[in-house]
Amino acid sequence: MTQWKSVPLVLAATAVFAIAQSKVPRAADGHPDFSGIWTNASITPFERPADLAGKEFLTEQEATAYERSHLRNVDKRDDIKGTNADVTLAYNDAWWDRGTRLFSTRRTSIVIDPSDGRVPPLTAERKRQLQMIADARRQRCEQPGCGVENSGILGPADGPEDRPLMERCLSFGNVVPMISTAYNNNYEIVQTPNFIGIDVEMVHQMRRIPLDGSPHIASSARFWAGDSRGRWEGDTLVVDTTNFRPEAAFRGSDGNLHLIERLTPVDADSIRYQFTVDDPTAFTKQWTGELMFVKSKGFLYEYACHEGNEGMSGILSAARADERKAAAKSGR
């Protein structure tokens, strides 16, 4: 395309952007108003699938085809229906709530940088640490008394501390950063000039974001959701989070995780949400993901996870039963 031809296009794009921007609701202090209930449910994969390598965006047609084929492929349990295996799996597609659509950007992955849509490799040292942890857990499960984790891997179950954070209702992997997951992809934002609170539906984990210009708490203080501070850069809310508990690993991150999130209004009903993972001891380079938040109707309801965690008792009881069975078999 020659130079002169692109000028009207740029003007047109600017005009569209200006119209969208004029529809962005404003708070009394003039900043974009993010108040309300939002969802980021989506079937957009976290990393770009191998068969879409080199393709950052789908066309409209391709996106429709992708969504249709996803619908055809849900609930792949036909082969195990009526068997014990079907019952022992956690949920089926009647319970999952990923939605049926890709993000409106038609990107082929949540990861947008690096451009191959894949999470960059871990550092050699972090790889070694994680391998050591995994090896130790696998070794312990050469003995009876383990339990299958959500990932499908067998994990130790001597006590609750052995189990993944999710099973303990301690922290879910979709809170910081806020990424779409299997269900409960809803968020309520309450915004004031000095503070933004985000109630994350998943186990009612709270994002507390002071906009008061104060520094982070000292690094000795660690939290599952980290310690967040926000600031406005034009119309973009930038949230800087550090002080994570080292166990709250996100895709292999460690206690040095520094997360930068950027929320930019697109129009009255959507926010472009980007997060950058900065953790030089865990990843060989920084990486960034992008999701779209869409306005949702209705309310957010209480998710009391720990209060009704019969699952933990069940997991540990089953592990003890497994031990008894093994002991009886070996004649002890």
């Binding site: 008394g145 006590g159 503070f195 104060s214 959701a225 309801y301 209480e302």
Partner: protein, 271 residues
């Protein structure tokens, strides 16, 4: 102030002498700020300063659950926060309260890190934060990461019972009035076993007594448990520290041994 009391007999003198003191007393707690909507600004980190979480009623000091903790574990004394000093239990409920008290070191939902319900969440010995926008007022609590959302003027009823209830708010002059219903029957009012059924209905009033103090009242109604409505009242104080931020107190991991310890490897019937 004693000068003022003395001077009260001499009305003109008293007026002149006491006015500066009265003005000073007010300026130490300046008028509540206003939001953009001209409502009292309740934004901030708040905390009660009393022992109501131990017992809503008047109590002397007593030994705690764990003697090895010595003075750390002991229960401090406190005045009643219940108006009239009586919780009007129905006969059967009074017996249940005694039973709860006898089993308080195992049955109190606080021990298990369960969400504390309302009004208890407001007078636990931990801070909470009010995040006030025009239509939605978020209460975020340090303890157990509990959260409740006060929706202003909505008509919708709670579709299901919950731990923190269903909060609907409106303004009456300077007071934020919150109607809370939709509770389950699992929470207690204090560590002394005061309890309720799922019929619990709480009406709260938050009235600013200046910028840094809120007068808090909660009227408690539950026909299954109490013979009449009763009321607690107390001030809530603003955290004035420069770095006053609400920090996450996720207590689940400290309750797990209590809840699941009997299912550990090597415990109970397995060995």
């Amino acid at each position: 102030m004693s000068n003022c009391g003395y001077a009260r007999k001499w009305s003109i003198v008293a007026l002149l002498a006491c006015t500066p003191l009265a003005a000073f007393a007010q300026s130490s707690n300046p008028a509540a700020k206003r939001t953009f909507e001209a409502k009292p600004d309740l934004n901030g980190v708040w905390q009660a300063m009393n022992t109501a979480n131990w017992d809503l009623l008047a109590h002397g000091s007593s030994a705690g659950a764990v003697s090895s903790l010595g003075a750390i574990g002991a229960i401090p004394p406190g005045e009643s926060v219940v108006e009239g000093g009586v919780i009007p239990y129905l006969a059967a409920a009074a017996a249940k309260k005694q039973e709860n008290f006898a089993h308080r070191w195992t049955d109190d939902p606080e021990i298990k890190c369960f969400m504390p319900g309302v009004p208890r969440a407001n007078y636990m010995p931990y801070p909470f934060q009010i995040v006030q926008s025009a239509n939605t007022i978020l209460f975020t609590y340090s303890f157990a990461g509990a959260v409740r959302t006060v929706r202003m003027g909505i008509k919708e009823q709670s579709p299901v019972d919950s731990w923190m209830g269903w909060s609907v708010g409106h303004w009456e002059g300077n007071a934020l009035v919150v109607d809370v219903s939709g509770f389950n029957d699992q929470t207690w009012f204090d560590r002394a076993g005061d309890f309720h059924s799922e019929q619990l209905h709480v009406v709260e009033r938050y009235t600013p007594r200046g910028r840094d103090v809120l007068d808090y009242e909660a009227t408690v109604e539950d026909l299954q448990v109490f013979s009449r409505p009763w009321k607690i009242s107390m001030p809530l104080y603003r955290h004035l520290e420069k770095n006053a931020h609400l920090l996450e107190f996720q207590c689940i991991e400290y309750s797990e041994d209590l809840l699941y310890g009997h299912l550990r490897h090597g415990k109970g019937e397995t060995k």
